[in-house]
């Protein structure tokens, strides 16, 4: 580079400058825009001569005060001694418009600034461009104003060009998508078939179809697809044109409105699952409820066989049921409501109640399947059945266990009648009293158990100190009581609301058990019962543990069962206590767990959520 520069002045002599000046248009103006120099070719462009121009302001540059933005920029640039380049227009002496690509370079000679201006006449180009743009604009407006949508598409329906935007999607964004993306799935088939024909038979095809707009209004279209050939006569693309002809279809406004209304209702129904299938079993309509229940979108499911919706495991019996239903319908009988197992897109199964109706539309037979998801009802049925069994068991066991003390009492009375020995009679009477007490305790427990389901308890704030102390005091008559060391730790900072009678019942049963199953005190054993109540994060935790005789491993799983009695014969019980506790905890949506080592005590942990 240095070398070239070095040589430059020697080459750039007068004659070179002459050549440059001769072959381009140049002028020089002073800092006010007055012409100091013009060359010959510039003069001839302006249809003027040098003597007329010299000393005058160069019209082309206007004045620095001119308000048009281009001139402001121009003057701002050159006044700050920067080169400016841009397109400027002016008129020749004869009034002809010319457009010039202009470069202005400020130069400084002898402390005096002037501007060298070089021009290039681009009038011809410029005018052509303007014309071109105008034409383009015109054809664009023409295309846009067409009442038709026209696309250039491939045989797969990919859009290569479009005449105007559709549904507020700009043309550039439409290009590259597929025609199928812009119509309802219900029209796929008719469209695809016609496109195939055009590409195969190489002839234009005209057809009509209907679609539904965003307001579910039925819209009719007339459509023409014509093939576009290349030089070899091969169909490379097709031009497809859609023309809305709803208004010419002679449908009354009223009818259209009605249809749109019913369609909206059908589509938006999300309670019932509504599927319409044709006589081949292919799905033709799909509502919101169906989408919610099965997880398939309309696009995914239309055209697929209705059997994909049924559980694979039960498909055969399901199909049998369907065939029976269809036969019944064909014989003009009402099809029964049947229960079938359905399959979600994600593989989950769920039961539905299924009814089938036949529709006749334009001579076509369709079947409308109405389904109702009965998962909840089913699970409730199962729960109810379990409850019913529980209740039967409860009644049976209660009746039996209530009889037992009466039978014993009757036996004792029989003996008493025969007994002549007074001492023996007293023994029997003592037993009678025990038996009666057992019966009483049992009937008390029974009424306690029946309380759980009763709803008429008020929720109040529980005073756990009082509850615990009351329970302990009630147990003070028990023979083991006086040896036991109770450790109570109640940490309930915020109020806990619940049903006091039931909470009391939990404490009563658990603490009573802990007392009943305590071990006799000895030199190295003090019976201890720990009662801890904690309330944290909206959850109450009750822990009642003891160091008593504990529970045998094989019994632990049964201890909450109805009428399950301890294996230990020395301790009497109704077999209801822990059943009651568990039932209460479950009625509060809580849980109860037990840990025990035989001979090492037991620990019951209860979690109760705050009532909502």
């Amino acid at each position: 580079m240095e070398a070239i520069k070095y040589n430059l002045p020697s080459r750039l002599n007068e004659s070179v400058l002459d050549v440059i000046v001769e072959n381009s248009m140049v002028s020089i103006v002073d800092s006010f825009g007055r012409i100091e120099y013009v060359n010959e070719s510039f003069c001839s462009l302006l249809e003027s001569n040098a003597s007329e121009l010299l000393g005058e302001t160069l019209e082309l540059l206007k004045s620095p005060r001119h308000i048009e933005l281009v001139y402001k920029n121009l003057w701002k640039s050159i006044k700050s001694r920067q080169k400016w380049n841009g397109i400027l227009s002016t008129k020749t002496s004869s009034g002809k418009s010319i457009t010039l690509d202009t470069i202005i370079v400020p130069i400084k000679t002898d402390n005096y600034w002037s501007y060298v201006i070089k021009y290039k006449d681009i009038t011809l180009h410029y005018n052509e461009n303007v014309k071109l743009l105008e034409r383009d604009n015109k054809s664009q407006t023409f295309l846009e104003n067409m009442p038709l949508h026209i696309f250039s598409i491939t045989k797969y329906g990919k859009i290569l060009d479009a005449n105007k935007k559709i549904c507020n999607i700009e043309i550039v964004d439409v290009i590259g998508t597929y025609v199928y993306d812009h119509i309802n799935p219900s029209c796929y088939e008719v469209l695809k078939n016609n496109i195939d024909i055009v590409f195969k038979d190489k002839i234009p095809k005209q057809f009509e179809f209907f679609d539904f707009d965003e307001n579910e209004r039925k819209t009719f279209y007339s459509s023409i697809i014509s093939p576009v050939f290349n030089n070899l006569g091969v169909v490379v693309t097709a031009t497809i044109c859609f023309h809305e002809i709803t208004d010419y279809k002679g449908l009354s406004e009223d009818l259209q409105y009605k249809e749109a209304k019913y369609r909206s209702i059908y589509k938006s129904l999300n309670v019932g699952i509504n599927v319409v299938a044709d006589d081949k079993g292919k799905i033709r309509e799909w509502n919101k409820g169906a989408k919610l229940a099965f997880g398939y979108s309309e696009t995914e499911i239309l055209g697929r066989p209705i059997t994909v919706l049924t559980s694979k495991k039960y498909r055969e019996p399901n199909i049998k049921e369907l065939i029976i239903a269809i036969r019944k319908i064909k014989e003009n009988q009402d099809a029964d409501i049947i229960e079938i197992q359905c399959l979600r897109k994600n593989g989950e199964e769920f039961p539905v109640e299924f009814t089938l109706n036949r529709l006749r539309v334009n001579g076509e037979t369709m079947y409308c399947a109405l389904m109702i998801d009965i998962t909840k009802r089913k699970s409730l049925e199962i729960k109810l059945n379990q409850k019913r069994k529980d209740l039967e068991q409860f009644l049976y066991r209660s009746a039996h266990d209530l009889r037992a003390p009466f039978s014993s009492a009757q036996g004792l009375v029989n003996l008493l009648k025969e007994e002549n020995n007074k001492e023996q009679a007293e023994v029997i009477i003592e037993m009678l009293s025990t038996t009666i007490n057992t019966g009483k305790a049992l009937s008390n427990n029974l009424s306690e158990a029946s309380m759980i389901s009763a709803k008429n308890y008020e929720d109040t704030y529980i005073n756990f100190h009082k509850t615990t102390n009351d329970v302990i005091e009630n147990l003070s008559d028990h023979e083991n009581f006086k040896f036991i060391d109770f450790k109570i730790d109640i940490d309930v900072q915020q109020p806990f609301k619940s049903k006091p009678e039931l909470i009391n019942s939990i404490f009563q049963n658990l603490i009573e058990n802990a007392v009943k199953y305590s071990k006799e005190p000895s030199e190295n054993h003090t019976p201890i019962i720990d009662i801890a109540v904690k309330y944290r994060n909206e959850e109450l935790m009750i822990v009642i543990s003891d160091n008593g005789i504990g529970i045998k491993k094989q019994c632990i799983k049964n201890i909450f069962d109805l009428y399950y009695k301890s294996c230990d014969k020395d301790v009497s019980g109704s077999g209801l206590g822990l059943y009651i506790v568990k039932s209460i905890v479950e009625s509060f949506d809580g849980n109860i767990k037990v840990n025990s080592d035989f001979n090492n005590g037991a620990c019951f942990k209860i979690h109760l959520p705050q009532l909502k």
């Binding site: 009746a399 014993s408 036996g411 399950y564």
Partner: protein
């Protein structure tokens, strides 16, 4: 002849009643009471294993309560069937319950090993019927 009775009931008072009723019937009897079916099974197993011992101790009659914790009367019968040899064959089992529920009665009737169902409490009359099976006349 001395009759061996085996009483199985988790309720001490019922055991006492049954024992008294048998004693009051004034026959020669030998009564063994068990408060759990488990311990009764253990006792019978012991008899089975000690083949040398004379059969005097083998019970002639078992009064079996149905409703007991851990091992119920029905479970006892299953265990009993397992060790039923020649020696045990002659044992007559009566099931006792305060239940008059027809399903319970039916269930007992289906048990081949059990020959009768007695609704509690055991009375003079019922014990009389049982004893008539043995052709024993009460020395009343």
């Amino acid at each position: 002849m001395k009759l061996n009775f085996m009483l199985i009931d988790d309720n001490n008072i019922d055991l006492f009643i049954n024992q008294k009723i048998i004693e009051n019937s004034k026959i020669l009897s030998n009564i063994r009471a068990f408060t759990s079916a488990n311990s009764a099974v253990k006792y019978l197993k012991g008899l089975e294993e000690n083949t040398g011992i004379n059969n005097i101790n083998i019970p002639d009659v078992i009064f079996l309560d149905i409703n007991m914790p851990e091992m119920s009367g029905f479970k006892f019968i299953r265990e009993f069937n397992k060790l039923k040899t020649e020696k045990m064959k002659s044992i007559k089992i009566y099931m006792l319950s305060s239940s008059t529920y027809f399903k319970d009665v039916q269930k007992v009737k289906q048990e081949e090993t059990c020959i009768g169902y007695i609704v509690k409490p055991l009375t003079k009359e019922t014990i009389h019927n049982v004893l008539s099976e043995f052709n024993i006349t009460q020395t009343a």
